[in-house]
């Protein structure tokens, strides 16, 4: 067997700018299969932009992305999803007019095989497929413990729960790579603990590779096996948590001695 499997995700020399304003400058790093990788850095360090580049919401001007053995310059969101990337957003991007169950089901839309006509008439592959989709969605709902809210509109749920529903929607796609943009933002200690538990369980149960942005260093050090530090759109640290924590430049960036 191969002792050094190729990384699942590899960014090389990614640069991104909006209207000439540099958001990301020449960033390269690799995410190994099955690891939990944390992107940290002060606000405006370009973390979210980087996630958006990874799954093609933004198009990087330079550099290339290798995902699961496939090299691309530009990744279109739809294509990224097809290749096995799912993500959550910094400020919730749920479908507020739909129930929790329906939101989770949308996460599985790529798993559909039957045509819309079959579904509309309830013929052919549709009925069995509907059962299958529902069962898988329910499994995710059970895994994340949101059974009680199955039929409630997500718009009406408290913030912490919505975060969990968004995670559920991403998880329902059975992704290879899970991109989480501040999954614990605005949560209290207990909620954070619960959420970290879920993330670790997902990683352990399904072997899903996770790339997450988080500000709470405690949480980051607790759950991640690999930390990448950004500052002003540049990479200033990359490695296992304890190593990164010792990195003087990182400390400087966080204590702000340099600014």
């Amino acid at each position: 067997m191969n002792l050094f499997p190729p990384p699942l995700l590899e960014l090389s020399h990614i640069s991104l700018s909006f209207k000439g304003v540099k958001a990301i400058t020449d960033i390269s790093f690799a995410v190994a299969r099955g690891e939990i990788c944390a992107l940290i850095g002060p606000n405006g360090a370009g973390k979210s932009s980087l996630l958006n580049v990874i799954n093609g919401v933004y198009q990087a001007q330079e550099g290339q992305i290798r995902f699961d053995g496939e090299v691309r310059r530009h990744m279109r969101p739809h294509h990224a999803a097809e290749r096995g990337m799912a993500r959550s957003f910094q400020n919730l991007a749920l479908f507020k007019g739909m129930t929790v169950l329906d939101n989770v089901l949308t996460g599985r839309n790529l798993k559909r095989r039957s045509s819309w006509i079959e579904q509309a008439l309830g013929i052919g592959r549709a009925p069995r497929e509907d059962d299958e989709q529902r069962r898988r969605a329910e499994e995710v709902i059970e895994f994340l413990n949101i059974q009680s809210w199955r039929q409630s509109l997500v718009g009406t749920l408290p913030y912490g729960l919505q975060k969990r529903v968004e995670l559920a929607r991403a998880l329902a796609a059975e992704p290879k790579l899970l991109l989480l943009d501040e999954p614990m933002a605005g949560m209290n200690a207990a909620e954070k603990k619960e959420m970290s538990r879920f993330i670790v369980d997902i990683n352990r149960e399904f072997g899903t590779t996770v790339v997450l942005i988080e500000h709470d260093i405690g949480v980051v050090m607790g759950i991640s096996s690999h930390v990448v530090v950004l500052d002003y759109g540049r990479k200033i640290g990359d490695g296992p948590p304890e190593e990164v924590r010792a990195n003087p430049e990182v400390i400087a960036a966080y204590l702000g001695t340099r600014h």
Binding site: E82, M98, D102, L121, D130
Partner: protein, 355 residues
């Protein structure tokens, strides 16, 4: 509340996918349908059939068509009447030019033509969002009636572009009486309403709502935006087309292109605003309102001592009230009458508990 839910549970997902989960609801709908199909034709009179029930049904269907596009897929359209016109004239020509083509088949084909047209005018939606779209749909609104007048072929070279209904019979059963036209309309509308309800509950329906609620997220989870939007336009066009054909042939009997002007489009839009966006039931409530309200108003005016409101003013007053209602609904109940009904029902199911 008045019926017991206890003991109604599903052991299979299929049971959850039924039209209504509760036995009593299914029963109620069944009774309503039996009443509409069997009882009404016996007891109703011609005035009701041709002045109230038939237009109500047709407008409900039109509302449904627009609702699929605007209420579910979130794509605003002001061109509904154009697609209704397309459906009507296409149906007319299919009947005219293909010997012995069954009536329902020509309705379907007419709808298909409208769907195609709607698809074409939906293409810009791939590039542009929100109310920029109304330009594209308004283009249809002005282009289609113009073409129908301008090119005599569409109306079989009738001087003023007027078309009139073919013989309305299905399997040799003559339906040209007011009651018959009502039943024919009812049948088509009910069938299409059921289909629509299945669609919006299916993956496609969820994709529509996803695109409506947040298209960036929809794209990120792999929903094909272009396909989803275009299907919305096509299916909506089909419904509007069939509605147009019914409007022309089971309601009016004869119609000219200008019967499908911008005001008709507004009327359909108002139906879904008042009835409720993103709801099947809403279209029927909204249509009922639009049809009954003017009658109510004129009757009220009639009650007032003579000359207090002269008939000329009535139209203006009606217009103002409609405008005001639109704003009130958008402010107070953006999801329309359907929402009110749902809230009422939810309360009833919890009564006497509050939550």
């Amino acid at each position: 509340m008045l019926y017991s839910e206890a003991g109604q549970f599903s052991t299979r997902y299929a049971a959850d996918r039924r039209l209504f989960r509760l036995r009593q609801d299914r029963l109620g709908l069944g009774l309503l349908l039996v009443f509409a199909f069997a009882v009404v034709p016996q007891v109703g009179n011609d005035y009701w059939f041709s002045a109230i029930l038939t237009p109500f049904l047709v407008l409900s269907l039109a509302g449904l068509g627009l609702n699929l596009l605007t209420g579910y897929a979130g794509q605003l359209s002001l061109g509904s009447a154009a697609f209704m016109a397309a459906g009507a004239f296409a149906t007319y020509n299919f009947q005219l030019r293909i010997e012995g083509l069954p009536l329902l088949a020509s309705f379907a084909l007419g709808g298909a033509v409208a769907a195609l047209l709607s698809l074409v005018f939906g293409l810009p939606s791939l590039r542009i969002k929100g109310f920029y779209l109304i330009v594209s749909t308004l283009a249809a609104q002005f282009l289609v009636p113009w073409a129908l007048v301008k090119y005599g072929w569409f109306s079989n070279y009738n001087a003023s572009g007027v078309i009139s209904a073919p013989r309305l019979d299905i399997f040799g059963l003559d339906l040209s009486s007011p009651a018959g036209r009502y039943v024919l309309t009812l049948g088509v509308v009910v069938a299409l309403a059921f289909l629509a309800r299945n669609i919006v509950r299916s993956e496609l329906g969820r994709n529509w709502m996803a695109v409506r609620d947040m298209d960036t997220a929809a794209a990120v989870i792999g929903i094909p935006l272009a396909r989803t939007k275009l299907l919305a336009f096509a299916i909506s066009g089909f419904y509007l087309g069939v509605a147009g054909a019914l409007w022309a042939f089971t309601y009016l009997g004869t119609v000219e292109p200008h019967g499908f002007d911008l005001n008709r489009s507004f009327q359909v839009l108002f139906i879904i605003i008042i009835g409720g966006m993103g709801s099947i039931l809403g279209n029927f409530l909204g249509a009922a309102f639009i049809v009954l309200f003017p009658l109510l108003l004129s009757n009220l005016a009639g009650l007032l001592p003579g000359g207090l409101i002269d008939p000329g003013q009535l139209e203006n007053i009606q217009k103002m009230i409609f405008g005001a209602l639109i704003i009130v609904f958008l402010i107070r109940e953006p999801e329309g009458l359907a929402r009110l009904w749902q809230q009422f029902r939810a309360r009833l199911r919890r009564w006497p508990l509050r939550y």
